[in-house]
Amino acid sequence: MTHAPAQPLRWNTYAAPSRFYPMAGKWIPWFWAAAALLGAAGLWTGFAIAPTDFQQGDAYRIIFIHVPAAWMSMVIYLVMAFWAVWGWMLNARMASMYARALAPTGAMFTFVALWTGALWGKPTWGTWWVWDARLTSEFILLLLYGGYIALTEAIDDPRRAANAGALLALVGAVNIPIIYFSVKWWNTLHQGSTINMGAAPKMASTMLTAMLLMTFCFWAYAFAVVFTRARAIVLEQESDTEWVRALGAGQDQ
């Protein structure tokens, strides 16, 4: 299958695990390189160039990872739910594998958002934690990721695991707009959005630059790690196919 004649590139070309595997293998080093460069640039901008905040002192510098991690936690969940449901509806194996590969990374960023939020809340609010709408809904997101991972790992049959996971991911997706709009809908201790569409950002441009660089760094990191995990899942689930055996025998890269 690996040596099939070249086919025209179509939207679903990489829906085939045998095509995804070598393609992702080529791209992963580039994502790592991008993550390292963007991270270095973001940290330099955030720590060497961005000025001390006149209200919060240097505690505000936590924002450069807190906000990007919180964004990632929500975006990855939506992408995960999308692929899970796509795989469920069309019985597309690769889509279901993407969903499962995304979950641990999303859970990690959710924990980072909560952890850095606690360490930022203590010096600025005087408390590590409060059960307000924003913090509670982000905590529920962590439980949703945990539930999705536990459910899909508990079911041995990949297709049944994917379908059960898709249902959970779909139902849980309702939590994402709740997280996002919680600071508008309820009176939260958590501050409102730092960046709003159609309005000038309420922060110095160097601070914004650092935050965006760290966001792109996290994106590149997420691609590198999720592709690595997706490749592992492909090998695990396709172990009885000809192309994986050929790969194992060292006939291909």
Partner: protein, 56 residues
């Protein structure tokens, strides 16, 4: 575009918020490194098993 710090010690103290700032960045970096290593390990093991399957 000036450097914000005049000494390493001042940089590490972060205006008195060193524990919070470095506690955030340190744990984040550790988790990202751990996650990356565990994903790479999972792929390596899956690749090894593919090799064993081929040999059988």
């Amino acid at each position: 575009m000036a450097m914000q710090w005049t000494s390493v010690d001042e940089f590490l103290r972060m205006g008195g918020y060193g524990l919070y700032v470095w506690g955030s960045y340190g744990v984040t970096l550790m988790l990202m490194a751990f996650e990356a290593m565990s994903a790479r390990k999972r792929h390596r093991l899956a690749r090894q098993q593919a090799g064993e399957g081929a040999g059988a």
